[in-house]
Amino acid sequence: MIRVSIAVFMLCAGVAFIAIAGLGVARLPDVFQRMHSATKAGGIGSSLVMVGILLLNVSSPITPLLTIAFMLLTLSVSSQLLGRSAYLSGASFRGMERGDALAGVLPRRGAPGPAEREVSLGDDTGLEGAGDGVRIGRD
């Protein structure tokens, strides 16, 4: 009985985390914050749901355990890969106070080279128009 109560609590907490992660993906202002919300809160939410299922269904515990371990191992790696590739492909920042700390360190597309370190912040165009070779809002 107490195990079922803990399982129900875990399922509720996981679903709540995933709902908050979805809210962040829809509402946060730039790619990096959305990535942060989706991978961290979403991964914790899915792991909590799997823990709840593990507590409810002990007949086959190895698959939920594998799923939890794999998600906790790979979500950090995939979030780092997504953030790096978004930075390199020139996605825009919002709400960064100190500017671009990596300017001139990584070859960011659409940014000035290592000689001149002023990066234009605050444009909201993302990658729009990148397909036809037009750069909107970026000098």
Partner: protein, 92 residues
């Protein structure tokens, strides 16, 4: 007070439709490719949870294998998309 666990899990699946819709909004609307990949990541998290909750609803533990497969595919897909995004339009 007794709680019917399969009915409860069905209710949780219905609640999970909300983050699914928000991720779909970001995937359709998202201004860049990276936003769509982030939405795909979110979609996979929701999919893993729905597959796990379907195990509770139906009693078939095969859906746990589906959840594990989704989690595996998610990592490979994100790594491949990240490589694609780093190379994207570098030759244009």
């Amino acid at each position: 007070m007794t709680l019917d666990i399969p009915t409860f899990a069905t209710g949780l699946i219905v609640v999970l439709v909300i983050p699914l819709a928000l991720a779909a909004y970001r995937m359709i609307r998202g201004p860049g490719y990276a936003d769509r990949f982030v939405a795909l990541d979110m979609l996979t998290a929701v999919g893993v949870s729905i597959a796990g909750l379907t195990t509770v609803v139906t009693g078939y533990s095969a859906f746990l294998d589906i959840a594990l497969g989704l989690a595996l595919i998610n990592f490979v897909a994100t790594a491949a998309f990240a490589t694609f995004l780093e190379r994207k339009d570098s030759d244009r």
